[in-house]
Symmetry: C2
Subunit: 298 residues, 2 copies
């Protein structure tokens, strides 16, 4: 292991969305018990990304903070609302994006969807492929989602500040609630990720499987709308809570409020996730669809 | 059946809380298909109680509307914020409380708790006892909750405007989400209630069971707090989602963020409900506890 691959500075971010409580309460917990997140081979800092949204018990005040980290937007001084300003401050603290002083960011999120403990990887370099393998070995209930359809630097997520940033996404949890099962999953997955970084740094990774299953983002579906953009229906009861269960051409996917069922017309085996996520109603989004892929680890 | 017992005017209220979507979307649906809620023996009107909170995707703007219907508050002209004003307007429309022109109010609510389809009765006169029996016969998954620990007129709920008002409370549903299963349960329960009123009016009720099981409100528990009133813990994972499952002295009930388990010290068999309801975090409430009772129907 050469020194250039070593990750010296790690940041754990919570409360990027103010009503996703698990990360916020874990940051508080770790403030009192920092040894839980400390490892020998790197330094770790924690960031409470959106404290004002938490105070107001909202996802955000002005706009979704986790879409404010596109490089052009970070450099656009005219974007000055609360989340856009916090994004610039966090970029100054952890970044700057493209030449970040932080080698690795873990951004902690909750979803109202039944996604269980999910690890979202933004690229599939050797480090991230191994990280996914390690986490799924240590935590068999974990699901790996790949959002590597665009390069990391083109993402507008907070975790894209660092080249190797990841998102921990755990549900189902209603907004503004703390569920112990979800909190425990988040703490466990974060611990495995920190262990992995430490083992990576010390060139001490255990034998990993040659490959594993993951879900690669493909497209986002909208809720049925009428010509005025009003919702005409909802997620079909057979799809509700069925995150990462296969959806095939002809399967029911929506129920209109008038009772009519709408079937999915796609031509591939789709794996829905973020199904009926509360925060996506702003844009009338119903779910994301992924394709199942096999990730080679070597 | 004498004419004085007949219920001539019924109101169905949705959106008393702006982020409880099932009632709001059912009102829209029934606007297009009024025959679903019409019955021969009474007139029915619908009321969208808090449209501004729905627009802002919040429970309320200024205060919880479903606590603004105490008689003194309705008569207190100094209480003039948005929900207090809407409460007075709704009381003028459906009431006035104590001498209401509306004979029966059904107020439609959602909870993030795993309460299933619940019917909350505010009194246990013969009408309400029979109503509970009818609904549980027609809908075996339904649960009847009695909040008859104080007289109806002392309640501050919207449905207390009419002497016989009830609350339909369906979950689990995150705030600001539409789940089809929850929507379908709400529509089914509302239909059974309307059928019951119609059968009651026509003196045509079927044979009902002599008694049935219900849960009578007893007390409300707070989340563990430190001396500054900050949350120190959360609902124990074994209690999460276990609404209407018995809780006994010594059972774990909370987990502190430091890992310590707190057990329940009560001296009766308690039936928790509204467990970890998101809206109750404002007041650091953890759950309500009921006692199991048998309701005689005659």
């Amino acid at each position: 292991m050469t020194g250039t691959n070593k990750l010296n500075k790690v940041a754990i971010v919570g409360g990027t969305h103010g009503n996703e409580f698990s990360g916020i309460y874990l940051l508080r917990k770790w403030r009192d018990t920092p040894q839980v997140i400390e490892r020998e081979s790197f330094s770790v800092e924690t960031v409470f990304a959106n404290p004002k949204a938490f105070e107001e018990n909202k996802r955000y005040l002005d706009c979704d903070m986790n879409r404010q980290f596109a490089t052009d937007d970070l450099n656009n001084l005219d974007l000055a609302n609360y989340e856009q300003s916090r994004a610039k401050a966090i970029n100054a603290q952890l970044g700057p994006k493209g030449a970040a002083k932080t080698d690795f960011i873990i951004d902690l999120h909750n979803t109202t969807s039944n996604m269980g403990p999910s690890l979202i990887l933004l690229q599939t370099d050797a480090f991230n492929r191994q990280l996914g393998a390690y986490v799924t070995v240590k935590m068999p209930s974990a699901v790996v989602v790949l959002e590597d359809h665009i390069p990391v630097h083109e993402h507008s997520f907070l975790s894209s500040i660092s080249e190797k940033g990841v998102i921990v996404e755990i549900g189902p949890q209603p907004q503004s609630v703390i569920r112990q099962d979800v909190l425990d999953w988040m703490e466990e997955m974060t611990g495995h990720i920190l262990d992995f970084v430490d083992l990576h740094n010390r060139d001490a990774l255990p034998e990993l499987p040659a490959s594993y299953e993951a879900y690669k983002y493909h497209e986002t579906l909208k809720l049925p709308e009428n010509e005025n953009g009003e919702r005409m229906g909802m997620v079909h009861h057979s799809v509700q809570d069925a995150d990462f269960k296969v959806l095939r051409h002809g399967d029911p996917i929506f129920t209109l409020f008038n009772g009519q069922e709408i079937c999915w017309e796609g031509d591939y085996e789709a794996y829905p996730h973020f199904i009926n996520e509360a925060a996506y109603y702003d844009n009338n989004l119903a779910m994301s669809l992924a394709k199942r892929v096999i990730v080679g680890v070597k």
